[in-house]
């Protein structure tokens, strides 16, 4: 009952609901604006045929690509020809067996490009948490609430839960809206057919369209939830949060928006790994790259998993502490 009360309280301002609608539409407008007017025709062609490059030619391209990778990394320790070969072995086997389809999946490409979902998501959460923190400060209700039975730890945890659920709602609404739009706009063809579109043609993963999107969306969801938790912690748990929520909001906005701006260049793996940039993780699966820390070599997805796990643990510890010592 506490959870539903807090949910209703958080979502009662009309601006929150309008902003949610805007977030759902932002990516749709972005995709519409950035795609060819003949997109639908092209999508129909792809869905019907989808194999514009013969398998033998693809195998030759793949061998050439693997050779260049080996040459590039030959001087480095920790990984080399064996590791690269191993990464591409399944892909090569699938290519030799003629199992791959080469071509761009317009719907999948549209779905994987989450630039506006990312921005909309972060800006919405900053607005959502910030406006509530400021409203709490203006209302001066904190002392009154803190004197009630559930007005400290349980209220704090309920607010955190509402915030996380709201983040899930925003993420799901934005992605479902986009998926519905793409279904109407260009259709999905055969999600189960193994593909290597030009975005993927140097990827070591033998994935079909559906698997590729699932990987991207799962990481996007995990990154989104951890981003939301970090935003909540920054806005509600900074020392200045109860007396100066606007200051908390400014600090949090800087912490969240700056990585997004820096990461617009995906070639810079480090900035692209920062929260909340990880929500747009298409690049992580596109090619063979490693992150070197001293003598340790990590795939980007391994680094991302470690980062998300560590961030989630730190957030959990902070939420536990925040629940016990609610500032009044």
């Amino acid at each position: 009952m506490l959870l539903s009360s807090e949910w209703r309280k958080a979502w009662s301002p009309l601006t929150a609901r309008l902003f949610l609608g805007f977030v759902c539409l932002a990516q749709i407008f972005y995709v519409s604006y950035n795609t060819d007017p003949n997109y639908r025709e092209y999508a129909e062609q792809y869905n019907a045929h989808a194999d514009s490059i013969p398998a033998e030619e693809f195998t030759r391209m793949l061998d050439s690509h693997v050779a260049s990778l080996i040459s590039e990394h030959s001087g480095s320790t920790g990984y080399g020809a064996v590791r690269i070969d191993r990464a591409y072995s399944r892909l090569r086997a699938a290519s030799e067996n003629g199992e791959l389809v080469f071509g761009v999946s317009p719907a999948a490409e549209g779905m994987r490009d989450q630039a506006m979902v990312n921005w909309g998501f972060v800006l919405f959460l900053l607005y959502f948490a910030g406006s509530q923190a400021i409203a709490e400060n203006i209302s001066a209700a904190a002392p009154l609430l803190s004197v009630t039975r559930h007005g400290r730890r349980r209220l704090f945890l309920a607010r955190f839960a509402v915030f996380q659920l709201s983040a899930l709602l925003v993420w799901a609404a934005a992605n479902l809206s986009l998926a519905a739009f793409l279904t109407f706009r260009c259709g999905w063809g055969s999600p189960g057919s193994a593909i290597q579109d030009f975005v993927f043609n140097s990827s070591p993963h033998v994935w079909n369209q559906l698997q590729a999107m699932t990987a991207v969306l799962c990481v996007s969801l995990a990154a989104g939830q951890v981003t939301a938790a970090v935003i909540f912690c920054l806005i509600y748990c900074l020392p200045c949060s109860s007396a100066q929520p606007l200051k908390s909001l400014v600090i949090t906005s800087g912490a969240m928006v700056l990585p997004l701006i820096l990461s617009m260049n995906y070639k810079n793996t480090w900035t692209a790994l920062l929260l909340p940039c990880l929500m747009q993780n298409n690049w992580m699966w596109n090619d063979y790259r490693v992150i070197k820390i001293s003598f340790i070599c990590l795939s980007p997805w391994q680094a991302a998993a470690a980062e998300l796990t560590l961030a989630a643990i730190l957030v959990w510890l902070r939420i536990r502490k925040g629940g016990k010592n609610v500032s009044i």
């Binding site: 309280k9 009662s12 209302s139 004197v147 559930h150």
Partner: protein
């Protein structure tokens, strides 16, 4: 049920907002009187476990309130100086929200809200948004929310601020009716709020408790020290410099002064029965006679 304060101290910088306060609160209405800046709100916030003292303890029947946590808050009703509310909530929704926070289930909450809205005279406005409420109406909602969990300890901080005289009388009867076997602490700087309903009074100034007595005992302290005196209007100010004057009342081309003084003033002063206001001003509000030049 007893609330015992033991050597309670709280500093803000160098200033002691609560200065080694030790006292015991028992069921009944206790008025906490003091001028602005006396430390009343600080004391109240410590009693509500909103503020940790720098030194000392607060015990409810021997148990420290800070350690009791939810069990203490279950017994507590609090009306703060400024009622915090969400303007977009209706009165009913606001009380429902607070009822949930106080741990009432849906059915209990609905019944209690109906009863309390009726008691504070806000039943017709239950669907009205709080943003449209007047100050007096908000105060009444504040009182209603404090009574939701039928608290055994009710703490009110300046609850009649912004209320018109009729509302203040209504408030006094509400509190008086509630306080039969409960501990009520009513903090105010308006003497009349306390005069009619409190069983005992705490006088506070500069973080210290100057007196903890019944109204009768306090008044008895100043027995034989309160006088009324008619003086020409032009001399009133001079008398106010010499004596502690607790009331000035125009009477034609003279003024009637009410004076608190150990010795009878010259000029035909008539002894008067001391009131709580006389005692309050004598102990908290005025400079002592003789310090005036």
């Amino acid at each position: 049920m007893n609330l015992t304060l033991s050597d309670l101290t709280k500093y803000y910088g160098d200033k002691a907002a609560a200065d080694h306060i030790s006292l015991k609160l028992t069921p009944g209405i206790t008025g906490l009187l003091g001028p602005n800046g006396a430390g009343k709100t600080t004391l109240i916030r410590m009693l509500c476990d909103l503020l940790r003292p720098d030194r000392g303890r607060i015990l409810l029947d021997g148990e420290e309130i800070h350690l009791m946590g939810e069990r203490y808050r279950d017994l507590l009703g609090y009306v703060p100086q400024k009622i915090g509310f969400y303007p977009w909530f209706t009165a009913e929704k606001y009380l429902t929200y607070l009822a949930v926070l106080k741990g009432l289930d849906k059915k209990q909450a609905a019944g209690r809200i109906d009863e309390l809205l009726d008691r504070v005279g806000l039943s017709p406005e239950r669907k009205k948004k709080l943003g449209a409420f007047s100050g007096g109406m908000l105060q009444r909602i504040g009182i209603a929310q404090a009574l939701l969990n039928d608290p055994k300890i009710l703490i009110l901080d300046e609850p009649t601020a912004g209320l018109d005289p009729r509302e203040r009388i209504r408030f006094r009867s509400l509190i008086a009716g509630f306080a039969r076997d409960r501990l009520v602490l009513l903090s105010t700087h308006i003497v009349s709020d306390v005069e009619h309903i409190a069983t005992q009074v705490l006088l506070m100034k500069n973080g210290k408790i100057l007196a903890q007595e019944t109204i009768e005992e306090l008044c008895r302290r100043f027995s034989g020290q309160v006088f009324t005196l008619n003086v020409p209007a032009g001399q009133a100010e001079a008398y106010q410099q010499l004596y502690l004057v607790t009331n000035v009342q125009p009477a034609g081309n003279q003024v009637k002064l009410r004076i608190v003084c150990p010795d009878e003033p010259e000029g035909g002063a008539v002894p008067a029965a001391p009131t709580l206001e006389d005692a309050y001003l004598a102990l908290c509000g005025g400079e002592s006679p003789g310090s005036r030049s």
